[in-house]
């Protein structure tokens, strides 16, 4: 380290800077030293709206609102983080200290409430807010972190952490990391390295743990250090019927399908029925339902034969929706254990 102490800070990003360019920057560094930012006078007032405009925060939040339906707790938290960024920028202009907040998060919620989807967007969001340099997402599960023999876990976990630096590390179903039933399990080692990195590289890395709420609670109870190092515990609520219908419409639109008016009614009925049945997985069930709608529409079109227009290829009819087993099963009592899934 001693070798680095005496050199003058200079900035150049190209590997072979031209001699002239380099000399210039060296001179300016010598002349100015460390440039002190122009601090504002304590009495000066700054227009908050103008600052927000400059950082384009409101555009970002609008896009968040448009892309995600429901998920109020998530949006609130992002709004808070964005607001803090804005305030921190202003504070630094008055010479007040502003440290980067800890951004490690834990997402809990029922299946299909968008935990993973939000995590994938969180990297990009935090990058645009200026909290992350790259914002890439590295999504891992227990297999990617925990090794198979002594001494395998630490390099493996570190490798993953290094890949995630500058972005987001999403650990899906994080509770599998800790297996209390096997005391020789290497998961604990992985957790310790994670904790160490989360603390030491708070600037470089955002760790998001995702999983079902009850199991996550057990996980945190046995790893209190983990719970306390995560600043944001966000619970994803179940979607309401309206939200699910909106999500369905959005998914169809993205795949360039549309529901006929009658089909829209049928789909609303279908969703209401499906919600009351077991193994309902929120948006994931809707996505699966839409995949099956496409199958039925395709079969209907192929069976009918004849001439087909562009509109026919896009439109899903009420019959496609009503052919679902959900409607048939609606009257009957639901079997306690069923097949792998409802169709």
């Amino acid at each position: 380290m001693t070798a680095h102490g005496e050199s003058v800070p200079r900035g150049f990003a190209m590997p072979v800077p031209s001699a002239g360019g380099f000399r210039e920057s060296a001179d300016s560094a010598d002349a100015g030293g460390v440039a002190a930012p122009d601090l504002l006078d304590p009495d000066v007032k700054v227009d908050l709206a103008a600052e927000e405009q400059a950082l384009r925060i409101s555009q970002l939040l609008d896009r968040l609102d448009a892309e995600f339906i429901g998920l109020a707790p998530v949006k609130d938290r992002v709004r808070e983080i964005a607001a803090l960024l804005l305030i921190d920028r202003l504070r630094s202009r008055y010479g007040l200290t502003s440290s980067r907040p800890s951004l490690h998060m834990c997402f809990t919620g029922s299946p299909g409430t968008g935990k993973t989807t939000v995590a994938t967007h969180m990297g990009e969001l935090l990058r645009e807010l200026g909290y992350l340099r790259k914002g890439q997402l590295v999504s891992v599960t227990r297999d990617d972190l925990v090794g198979q023999y002594v001494g395998h876990t630490a390099p493996k976990t570190k490798e993953v952490l290094k890949r995630a630096m500058g972005g987001v590390l999403l650990i899906d179903e994080a509770y599998y990391l800790y297996r209390p039933e096997n005391e020789r399990d290497y998961g604990q080692e992985s957790i310790e390295i994670l904790l160490q990195f989360m603390e030491a590289h708070r600037e470089d890395l955002v760790v998001i743990l995702a999983g079902y709420a009850d199991r996550m609670d057990t996980f945190f109870r046995s790893n209190p250090g983990m719970a306390s190092r995560i600043a944001h515990h966000i619970d994803f609520p179940d979607f309401t019927l309206d939200e699910l219908l909106q999500i369905g419409e959005m998914m169809l639109e993205r795949e360039q399908y549309r529901l006929s008016p009658a089909a829209r009614e049928a789909f609303a009925e279908y969703t209401a029925l499906r919600m009351s049945q077991p193994r309902f997985a929120n948006a994931r069930s809707i996505r699966n339902a839409i995949d099956r709608l496409r199958l039925r529409q395709a079969r209907r079109l192929v069976t009918a034969g004849g001439l087909i227009a562009r509109g026919d290829l896009m439109e899903i009819s009420a019959g496609d929706v009503r052919a679902s087993r959900v409607f048939r099963d609606a009257g009957r009592p639901v079997p306690a254990t069923g097949g792998p899934g409802l169709s």
């Binding site: 380290m1 630096m165 600037e203």
Partner: protein, 152 residues
Amino acid sequence: MRITPGTFSYLPDLTDDEIRAQVQYSIDQGWAVAVEFTDDPHPRNVLWEMWGLPMFGIADAAAAMHEVTQCRAAYPGHYIRVSAYDASLGRQTTALSFIVNRPAGEPGFRLDRQEASDRRIRYSLHPYATDQPAGERYGAGTMAPNGSRDNP
């Protein structure tokens, strides 16, 4: 004597921010960055010890800086360099390599003349540092001009 292998070696030592900028440039070019160290300054010593595996698939220079910091902590008195490998088709070679850590004192080299047959002379370079066993060169003590350390 300051040895000068690799890029930037005639410049003043890079600061950590400059190293970070170079590493980020390398990553952005799609090169895999590796950290290597040695305590043998001989110019023909090109294959240095590897500090872990080359870092494939990292996106941010912070990961490489973490390894550089770790390596410096473990080998403060060694030469440490960062190499960037370009694995693109037809190149597969070191695209950039520069020193990120040097020992406090570099004792330099001795020129050895060997009398060969027919009064021919063979020359060789002998780094004073290699008079000490590997791992004990550039130790805590300062280097005397003859390469021996004042305090072991």
